[in-house]
Subunit: 410 residues, 3 copies
């Protein structure tokens, strides 16, 4: 059912989180399976859902159970095998060769990028969450180690000093203030004033949690100056989110203003605004997108969602991600349902004579791995020494930075 | 074409209106067929539409005509048979075992819930429209039978005193002020002030028509205190509506605040925001949804719409409704097109090996009847004496009320 | 694959632009192919997209190349044949019998409506862009040929004096201020004040570019007074656009207020808001829609988009347009992909027994040509002397103007 060119893809998961390293009971498992943080009412179960059926269909066999085993049987077997072996099995089955891991959300310890890579025989890369950078700087200022007037410059320095394992940045402005961010680059004076206000709130007892449209925008601009690809949470997320503020069209002005920097922006998740994201990605050559997280949650509907998402976006601007968090199942389902969906979309085009098999194979490679390797300069799998090629690709891909004054080399 | 487990379902129609009891000419029929209240331009006909084709395909045979008979022939035969027999035939053909009837909109006399039940051999249940409760209280105050300071308490008393045939409540805030309702529970002082303002407008000659975000929110909170499931109009409706104000995401804050009460909220219709509604229903265990009204209007596209709607929502939180109003045809089409759509969605999953036949049958039963029976505590068909079971179900389903001070027992 | 009744349709393209009359290099071709005005990053190509595949699949054979020829080969052959022959071939292959040409956007010289008609053996008709009318009047006032107090009356006179080749009007308010236009008809006093303000800005050096919600609304009302169908840009467009301001639901109030005039309004493009547009077109009998521009850009997904668009809209209120601009390929793809999509939608309905072949043929004729001929009073192809019939159709289609004081005959 899955095209060989898709089956054999060594996927690059350009956005995921770490693995949980403890065993779970049924309630804990159901709670981690979806984005809801509330238990389901008595007499009902989240296994009666697209993602629940997908677990029973596709994950049960990985644990040596027949497909469609019941939830109790599944959870019992999961505990029997133990979390380490469960994780190892699902990660190997997912067929992912590289992980870009956002470790910015850690309600409890999770595997790091490098541990994840080791577990599955791939490579792990770090995605730095911009808000954590700002929040850790806020701590330094509040504890008297730095003055607030250094806020902007220190962010720049720390971003410029991000180690070689950091391949990209991420903004969660969507969760904090929504995506109606200012379109123009904030001045240092504005940044200092906003930082001062934020720090005053922290000193009055507010939690250390950035939520300032101007500072979120500043972080994104500074990330662009550092020349690192910038992931932005868009659309679908957990119960903490106000989805209406997460429409990617709210970013139109900022994305347009960022385009001349040439730095890739990656709109994550996007559902149910994936068509809107595709429109932006067609119009602005620096805008890229995925439908991660939605893929495993919609289960067998992933091909319908992927078909819609791919309507306008050029195929060089669409990526695979799982957005898996905690459960090994989510890596497998993210990868497997994505493969099936991509295969369905491409097969139908071949069957209808709308493209050739070799076209389909090229598109599969771009979307499944090539675009991510180019954008994050990951090198080829098993040829991690191809730094020269990768750096050349960087030159040809990126335009000159719009404003070199604030660039990393200044 | 329709799965046996779907064909044999005795549907529960958790939201519909009454039947018209007079005969109609063609213009009157076309006007009741869709949500438009304007005649179609000369030389065109509403029969050239998805719902028009569905009438000719599926309703004509019920009147002993060949499928695809023309509009004139159809209307002539309809008048020949007479409205009583027409109603009887369509209701019996619909295969609905229980009706939850919103009798809150009555531009002319319609059949009541109990008459409807009798006509088709099922049971009828009442849905109380919250705005009518407030408007009838407004009359009592304006005519001097009550003081405005009793507004809040009287609403509570009347809701607590709703008879046993009332199984749920409904809000039409969408039509009046849109869904951007306040998220926090209004205080009695705020309610009194808003009621005073409204009554002053009525005394100055305004029509008795509630349109106050605060009072609509108060009614919903009071309904939750009374422990009755609350239907909220969302999305698609008639020409009176400003669709942009009816996006369910506007309700996010209020739904989140209501969740701890455990009282089910039912988002009605939802189209074209059914994916947004599904997102809310995945995240908040008290949120349920349907795509009633849209199903018959989109005709053969119902399976596409249903597939989208079911992407994220757990299957225990999705319900069938026809939202039929006036025409017997709308009950049949609502039920028949829903069966076909649900059957298509489930059959494709079986054919692709994504779920088993028994899974599909369980889901069909939940969506077609079980969820509604659980939520509205309707008991099993033909076993209306199972009150004990039903009451136990109530205990396990509902959490403790958030604020017992304002509860019905205080 | 395409139904005979669709294949044989002589389409009416109710909204397109002119043809480019110079040869293009690859960069120029890629830039005209989509709505983006930026080059694609090095190492990527816009040919890897739905529209790119459609060019290689469907356009290559028209230039005597095998399907799926590569971009370089395709562009070389295109230059070899020369732009005149390329244009002639694509236009003939498109099978369009009449073009309604919006010549209001001319970054460089394009073929006019009549030239376009001659090139393909059809008829050309003019669509007058309302903003150009206002902007040319602004020049007359700024250069002292007219006083600003004549603004409103002069617009009326010039619209009333539009020649017989002008069959409709167009508003691009979406590009200038978005679609949140005032719902009520502006008074002449308001129009004069707004015009005065606009002209003062021009005198202070602003470019002559209308961007005033009140004046855009005034132009639309005046167009309705003149009794000409009014096209309104909605949704999908080029990089200049803020898509979020182009949701047709923003027009709800204005469309409702215009409905009593009986003048047809045509919502253009609509994607990704085509379901919202379909809702408006079901509710308001004067509202029509298309999905032009989207059709060729989404390539083989056109049938999915068309299926969604046709859910609620009565089939007498949906039209074909290509919105082609510059490239001959866009006329062919607009027409060919539309035929395939319409054929797929209709064939599936026939196969499932939801409508008959003759129903499908009637719907195809309405959507592909009949609706446009009725609305724009174009007469039948090859029978351009049927002015009497056409005028009768006008009487029966249109209701009396709401406000005859400001009508063209006053």
């Amino acid at each position: 059912m899955v095209l060989p060119c898709v089956e054999s893809l060594r996927l690059v998961d350009h956005h995921c989180h770490g693995l949980l390293t403890r065993d779970l009971d049924r309630a804990g498992f159901e709670r981690m399976l979806t984005e809801s943080d509330a238990p389901t009412p008595a007499g009902t179960t989240l296994f009666d859902s697209n993602i629940g059926f997908a677990v029973r269909r596709w994950c049960a066999p990985v644990l040596d159970l027949p497909p469609f085993s019941g939830p109790e049987e599944y959870l019992a077997r999961r505990r029997e095998i133990g979390v380490d072996e469960v994780n190892r099995r699902f990660l190997r089955a997912a067929g992912i060769s590289a992980f870009c891991v956002d470790a910015g959300y850690l309600p409890e310890p999770l595997m790091s990028a490098s541990e994840l890579g080791t577990t599955c025989g791939g490579t792990g890369h770090d995605i730095l969450r911009l808000e954590r950078l700002a929040e850790s700087l806020a701590v330094d200022i509040v504890t008297g180690q730095l003055g607030v007037t250094h806020f902007a410059d220190t962010i720049r320095e720390r971003l410029a000093g991000a180690g070689p394992t950091t391949v990209g940045l991420k903004s969660v402005a969507a969760y904090r203030v929504g995506l109606a961010l200012p379109a123009t680059r904030p001045t240092d004076r504005e940044v200092t004033a906003a930082a001062r206000e934020w720090l005053a709130m922290i000193r009055r007892g507010a939690p250390i949690r950035l939520a300032s449209p101007l500072l979120h925008a500043f972080l994104i601009w500074t990330g662009a100056d550092a020349g690192l690809p910038i992931q932005i949470h868009v659309g679908y997320g957990d119960a903490d989110l106000d989805l209406q503020r997460c429409n990617p069209l709210l970013l139109t002005g900022l994305l347009r203003a960022l385009a001349p920097t040439g730095v890739p922006v990656l709109l994550l998740h996007c559902y149910p605004y994936h068509r809107e994201a595709g429109y932006l990605a067609q119009l602005l050559p620096t805008v890229h997108m995925d439908v991660g997280l939605a893929v495993q949650n919609v289960g067998r509907r992933a091909s319908a969602v992927l078909g819609e998402a791919l309507e306008l976006v050029p195929f060089s601007r669409f990526l695979f991600s799982s957005d898996a968090f905690g459960l090994g199942e989510l890596y497998l389902l993210g990868a497997l349902l994505f493969r099936r969906a991509l295969s369905a979309v491409l097969s139908e085009g071949i069957a209808d004579g709308d493209w050739t098999e070799s076209d389909a194979a090229r598109v599969a490679d771009l979307i499944g791995a090539g675009n991510a390797r180019r954008i994050y300069r990951l090198g080829e799998p098993g040829r991690e020494t191809t730094a020269v090629t990768s750096s050349r690709a960087r030159d040809s891909l990126y335009c000159a930075a719009e404003d070199s004054r604030t660039g990393p080399s200044s």
